[in-house]
């Protein structure tokens, strides 16, 4: 029989060892479908690494994909800290994208130093406002936010489509449901020539540091943690629970909204209803892999992005169905999840004297 015993603080060396073990386990698992598809496994691994890190281009591609994941991951991490289960980052991302397009395609004009902040703020605000609804429904009426945020994802996506086929459609778009392009002055600058990597990554990194600082060092973060860990005690101690949740909701939505801003104002230049391949949902995974730590979110997002980009590129180089990429991401995710246990718990095999000895 196996038993788990919680452990205390974990040394860094152990974290590293466990992470490496998880990665190895994931690669071994991934070998199964690769072999099934008739690939030479080692060659495939090599191609995967090359696909994510093999060139400046692939490296920037990996970072480009990580940027929105960092932001949606932060959105989930912040909300989950307060036990506000925001499953709606996908919708909030689209809301942010929609707002930044509404502002950035000519509604206001001016130089970059006005337009870029305006676009960014509009996106953050829209994402925050979308999350405000479920938060208020939860705090005022006790409506489960998992459900409302989940359902709002569909509503918002449909709303975006409606706008893109209606008032916000690009008149020059030949009837395609897409928005007008963001003005050049409103677009987030690129970080490298000829590459897609853009300022969205910087926004994401700053947001992660800011969130870390906010949660860790400020009164406000203290209140968030207290509300998340024990709302009743927080209320008793005079912490405004509802107001705290509302602030958390706004922040969480805003972070997801920023992910949308990056995707349109940084990457694509205009909005279509398919800019996100599920960044919002992956954000939850990223946040939990990171143990809800804002800094960890960056690492987790880079991890997910590199696995995906690497595996995707590998599937292309080998001619295997590119559904393999998501499969490998899923397997890696499950392995990392399980490996987290080795950090939190000592695992004891009851009945084995040796194990007993070491557990003391």
């Amino acid at each position: 029989m196996i038993r788990f015993e919680p452990r205390g603080p974990v040394p860094v060396s152990r974290i590293l060892a466990v992470s490496v073990a998880a990665a190895v386990a994931a690669l071994i698992l991934a070998a199964i479908p690769m072999a099934f598809a008739g690939l030479s496994v080692f060659e495939a691994y090599g191609l995967m690494i090359k696909g994510a890190f093999g060139s400046f281009f692939s490296f920037t591609e990996m970072l480009t994909r990580a940027a929105p994941l960092i932001l949606t991951g932060l959105a989930a991490a912040v909300a989950f800290r307060a036990k506000l289960w925001n499953i709606g980052a996908e919708g909030q991302l689209y809301a942010g994208a929609l707002a930044s397009v509404a502002v950035g395609t000519g509604a206001i004009s001016g130089p970059s130093y006005i337009l870029i902040p305006a676009v960014v703020l509009a996106g953050a605000l829209a994402g925050g406002l979308v999350m405000l609804g479920p938060t208020l429904l939860k705090t005022r009426l006790g409506v489960d936010e998992v459900v409302t945020t989940l359902l709002l994802n569909f509503v918002i996506l449909l709303f975006v489509q409606m706008m893109l086929e209606g008032p916000m459609q690009d008149p020059m778009g030949m009837g395609w449901p897409q928005s007008e392009p963001i003005l050049d002055e409103a677009a987030l600058p690129k970080l490298a020539d000829r590459m897609r990597i853009h300022w969205g990554l910087i926004i994401a990194l700053v947001a992660s540091l800011g969130t870390y600082f906010l949660l860790k060092r400020t009164v406000w973060g203290f209140e968030v943690r207290a509300v998340g860990e024990n709302a009743a005690a927080a209320r008793h101690a005079g912490i405004p629970v509802t107001a705290t949740l509302v602030r958390v909701g706004l922040l969480s939505g805003a972070l997801a909204g920023l992910a949308g801003v990056g995707e349109v104002a940084g990457l694509k230049g205009y909005l279509t209803a398919d800019i996100s391949p599920g960044f919002g949902y992956f954000g939850i995974v990223v946040a939990m892999l990171a143990g809800l730590s804002p800094i960890g979110v960056v690492i987790a997002a880079l991890f997910i992005a590199s696995i995906f980009v690497g595996a995707d590129s590998m599937s292309r180089a080998t001619g295997v169905s590119n559904y393999l990429a998501n499969l490998i991401v899923a397997m890696a995710l499950l392995c990392v999840l399980v490996s987290g246990l080795f950090l939190r718990f000592r695992i004891r095999f009851v009945g084995s004297p040796a194990a007993k000895e070491t557990s003391r």
């Binding site: 973060g221 203290f222 207290a226």
Partner: protein
């Protein structure tokens, strides 16, 4: 006490039980015998290892060393499979946990039947079960509404369901972990009467308690744990309360003694307060607390005490009435406002309302004052100042914890209570609301709480003490009011009341009738 219990056969034997949690030895080589028909009291400070020992006995925990032997009907003492509640139940051991192990969404009957029927069965055989239970209830006096959902039952009723669970399975050994911690005196008395009947019928009983009076009154034998080790095992007849207290703590306990004080003028006043709805509602409550006095509030639990405490804590909106402190209105004040106005509140459920278990001791000590300049500047937390202050409070209040950074959840109940006391009393409050402040605490911790409340009183604060423990109320209060069905009687000087008069009023008889 009955001679027969002395030479009855041993039904349960613990041999050299050792249990470690990391570096801590929760139980060290504990051996214990229980005889048929015997009531054994297990004593010890908070964290002495009582619950751990019982959890090993019942299979929730696995001992690192030692074994548990149980008498099989006729088969002599046999070793019990470790780590299996199922095996313990099979062997005739029943356990009533410190925190109730009941499914609130099921009826009492279903809770009792849980696990007694084959899971693959297509129907649940309620009728024969009901017959057996009705017989059991009639015999033991443990009456519960079998078809009511657990969530609707009172604490006492839940306790009885827990015992019925064990009896229904024909337990021959019954373990009760702090069964009276949440019961009213009347309920406790009934419980012990029942336990005696059951013991006479041959049941071996172990109960854990911090209330020495009931231990003296109801047990045959007492075993005392200190620091995880058994330090005494003696017949109750050879004991006195004082001796037991010393055995537990390892040194003499100083009784807290109240000196008559001189109450000042009106300090904190409730007028015509109504709040809440249903069973726990308050109706038209008047209360007038003077400075320098302790006002006790007696009552059977579930008569509005919780609502009263919530109202005073600023957690519940009033439907009518006013609240005044020092002549200023606090009628619709929030929790924050109450704290800032000088109200210290000790919640009745310290785990639920008192601390944030995942946060550190120092954070829990700062939580009520987190927006005060001593803890923050420009919204940034001042960690070193918080720690500094925490270290002082830990020292001053003798809070036992590894460090100010360890999570509060790891502390024992008594020490958690000390965190709450420290952070609230340190602010030199004008009014202290103490709701069930010594519930579940050992004698040492209890006397510490009492000392602190009396100290607050003597420096001029008004204290509202809500308690179900009449001894505590009589010992500490200057005046006592009784709450019944959400109505609060006028407070009377404690000297003019005795236990029986209070008991009658708690049962709903008016002052005149009682007199």
């Amino acid at each position: 006490m009955t001679g027969s219990a002395r030479d009855a056969k041993v039904v349960l034997r613990l041999e050299g039980i050792t249990k470690r949690f990391g570096a801590l030895t929760a139980n060290g080589e504990v051996s214990l015998d229980l005889k048929q028909g015997e009531i054994l009291a297990l004593l010890g400070e908070n964290g002495a290892g009582k619950t751990t020992l019982m959890n090993i006995l019942f299979g929730h925990y696995v001992a690192d060393e030692g074994r548990v032997l149980v008498d099989r009907n006729g088969g002599g003492l046999l070793e019990l499979e470790p780590g299996s509640p199922h095996a313990a139940l099979e062997a005739g051991i029943g356990m009533v946990h410190q925190h109730f192990a009941l499914a609130e969404n099921l009826s009492a009957l279903d809770n009792i039947l849980l696990g007694t029927e084959k899971l693959a069965a297509l129907t649940s055989a309620h009728a024969p079960a009901r017959r057996k239970l009705e017989a059991l209830m009639a015999h033991s006096g443990l009456n519960v509404p079998l078809d009511a959902r657990i969530s609707r039952l009172s604490v006492g009723e839940k306790q009885r369901v827990e015992i019925l669970k064990a009896l229904y399975r024909d337990a021959r050994v019954l373990v009760l972990d702090e069964p009276t911690a949440v019961l009213t005196p009347q309920e406790s008395e009934t419980l012990f009467r029942t336990l005696k009947t059951l013991a006479e019928g041959g049941l071996g009983i172990i109960f854990i308690s911090h209330k020495l009076a009931e231990v003296m009154a109801s047990s045959h034998r007492v075993a005392v744990l200190r620091g995880g080790c058994k330090v005494a095992d003696l017949s109750t007849a050879e004991c006195s309360q004082r001796k037991l207290a010393e055995l537990m703590v390892g040194h003499e306990i100083v009784e807290t003694i109240r000196t008559t004080g001189t109450p000042g003028g009106s300090l904190f006043v409730l007028k015509g307060v109504s709040a809440g709805e249903g069973r726990d509602a308050l109706h038209d409550v008047d209360l007038d607390l003077k400075s320098g006095e302790i006002l006790g509030i007696a009552g059977v639990s579930g008569n509005g005490q919780t609502m009263l405490a919530r109202v005073i804590s600023g957690l519940e909106p009033l439907s009518a009435g006013t609240v005044m402190l020092d002549g200023r209105s606090l009628t619709h004040a929030s929790a924050r406002k109450m704290i800032d106005s000088g109200l210290a509140r000790i919640p009745e459920d310290r785990h639920h309302d008192g601390i944030v278990g995942a946060m550190s001791v120092s954070e829990n000590l700062a939580i009520e004052a987190i927006r005060k300049p001593e803890n923050q500047r420009f919204g940034l937390l001042r960690f070193s100042a918080m720690r500094e202050r925490a270290r002082k409070l830990i020292e001053a209040y003798d809070i036992r914890c590894q460090s100010e950074d360890s999570p509060a959840r790891l502390l024992s109940g008594g020490n958690i209570q000390k965190i709450v006391l420290a952070r609230t009393l340190e602010t030199v409050p004008k009014v202290v609301l103490a709701a069930q402040p010594s519930r579940g605490l050992d004698v040492g911790a209890t006397s510490e709480v009492h000392r602190r409340l009396l100290a607050a009183r003597s420096r001029g604060a008004g204290v509202i003490l809500i308690s179900e423990d009449l001894d505590e109320l009589m010992r500490l209060s200057d005046r006592i009011a009784v709450i019944h069905r959400g109505r609060l009687s006028a407070a009377e000087p404690a000297e003019t009341l005795d236990r029986s008069a209070l008991g009658l009023r708690m049962a709903g008889h008016s002052g005149e009738e009682a007199a």
